[in-house]
Amino acid sequence: MTPLLEVTGLRKAYGPTLAVDGVSFSLPPGGALGLVGESGSGKTTTARMLVGLERPDSGSISVLGRPLAPAVHGRAARLARAKAVQMVYQDPYLSLDARLTIGETLDGVLRLHGHHDRSARAARVREVLAQVGLGDREAAAHPRRLSGGQRQRAAIARALAVEPAVLVLDEAVSALDVSVQAQVLNLLTDVRREAGIGLVFVSHDLAVVRYVCDEALVLWQGRPVEHRPLPELLAGPEHPYTRLLLASVPHPGWDPGGIARRRRALSELVPGERPD
């Protein structure tokens, strides 16, 4: 079976800083992968390369067996790129155009992607919004009139309107409070099951990743350190960094001081000489 998304040897450097190095993974149709790591681990850079906002220095990205060109020229290529991978951003307060209502935003996406009939577009806007649990009232509202959870649903609807093969979620629930997080996570598992869209879930939070994904790729200082199915990873983390990430989730008997000590010990390791 052709994998939905195949990434090999992705690498990106900003001057002397190596942001991402040697990231490879593949995603089966309807699969969900968690890209896990702390700030600066290269997970957001990886996500931005997947949607074409950053150009990889080397490595390749293929969607449904077709490699994505590193640079797109022309309308047809842009639209094809957009249909391959879409993205939902961390901050729902900044990722929607404040000037437009949710309905207008979605209408613009549909118009761009070749829905020329106005009433058909309006029907489709309703349909996509219903998919994320928003109604006519939200469609007529500007983003500032909506709550954080509603905005993030709208942002997901905007991505779904393109009908992408893969949806990249960059810390998509981190800015939401816990009960709203759960609603959005449920929505994402529904999207995955019903539409068969592959998810790449970028997060620092293993508890959240566990809820949505089958497997996780742990990134540390731009390099993959562990890539395993989630139950396995959670039961027996092998890499010290993964163990540290797991210990960092607040729980009864949590020891922030101990975590800080372990983090210092880990950062003293020379990057590149990964303990196995």
Binding site: G52, R75, R78, L94, S95, R158
Partner: protein, 283 residues
């Protein structure tokens, strides 16, 4: 549906404009009156200000001449009303040209970034070094007196102010995720810059243009005062002040004081309105 949206938009705009305190409202009112006077001047002016009555020079206020006459016997009140036309039309030209040019240059520079941006920014720095008045005097020397040459020269001199503002706002706004979202959706970069980004910084740019209008009015009045701008008998506030010099020396300063007041009030009103609009834009 579209008319309803427009109506809602206008209503919101009026409400927003009203919500700035009394000073803003007074200044906005002053500007509306000035524009109305400029538009209706030929019908409002009681006399033809280009025709002087030499039997009645440097007269004080009377029933026939509300604000008196100057040393050429021209009716000051009529000249004030008719002068509003050229005095406001000139700055309008300056602001229109410099805004369109400045937005184009600034948006391009800020959006592209990198080396193109660095080169354009240095060129703007050099343009900043030219005083607008000097540039206008140069243009008059090259193309002759009148309204056209100074307006064109000042448009060039004012362009860097708008361009620098737009460049900075663009560079800042470009990093926002909604811009990334537009690009990821498959929109062309030029479309995203003009239709996605520009409307979101338009309020602040409009404020800068309004402030520029006041300064351009002042500069053009200065040019007219020097005799390099609009030529008599066309009424113009700056030219009125120039002509009134002998009347001031003769102890009848009214024909100079009146246009000076008009310039001061107009510039003040434009500054206040522009500043308040800017505050709204950055909020």
């Amino acid at each position: 549906m579209s008319t309803a949206t427009v109506r809602v938009g206008v209503g919101r705009m009026v409400r927003r404009l009203g919500g700035h305190g009394w000073l803003f409202r007074v200044c906005l009112g002053v500007l509306v009156v000035f524009v109305a006077v400029a538009l209706l001047a030929p019908w409002l002016a009681p006399q033809d200000p280009t025709v002087g009555d030499f039997a009645d020079t440097m007269a004080g206020p009377s029933a026939q001449h509300w604000l008196g006459t100057d040393q050429g016997g021209h009716d000051t009140f009529s000249a004030l009303l008719e002068g509003a036309r050229t005095s406001l039309l000139g700055p309008l030209g300056v602001v229109a040209f410099s805004s369109v040019g400045g937005i184009a240059v600034g948006l391009f520079s800020g959006w592209r970034g990198g080396r193109v941006d660095a080169v354009i920014s240095r060129v703007l720095d050099v343009l900043f070094a030219f005083p607008s008045l000097l540039l206008a005097i140069l243009a008059v020397a090259l193309f002759g007196k009148g309204l056209g040459a100074p307006v064109l020269a000042m448009a060039v001199a004012y362009l860097p102010y708008t361009a620098r503002l737009v460049r900075g706002l663009t560079a800042q706004e470009k990093t926002r995720p909604y811009i990334a979202a537009y690009l990821v959706q498959g929109h062309a970069p030029a479309y995203v810059a003009v239709r996605g980004l520009l409307p979101n910084i338009a309020a602040t740019v409009l404020a800068q243009s309004t402030v520029n209008f006041g300064y351009a009015l002042l500069d053009l009045a200065a040019l007219s005062f020097l005799g390099l701008g609009v030529q008599p008998p066309t009424p113009d506030w700056g030219a009125m002040i120039n002509r009134a010099q002998s009347a001031v020396l003769a102890g009848q300063p009214l024909s100079a004081v009146v246009p000076v007041m008009a310039v001061v009030v107009a510039v003040l009103a434009f500054n206040v309105v522009g500043e308040r609009l800017g505050e709204r834009g950055t909020r």
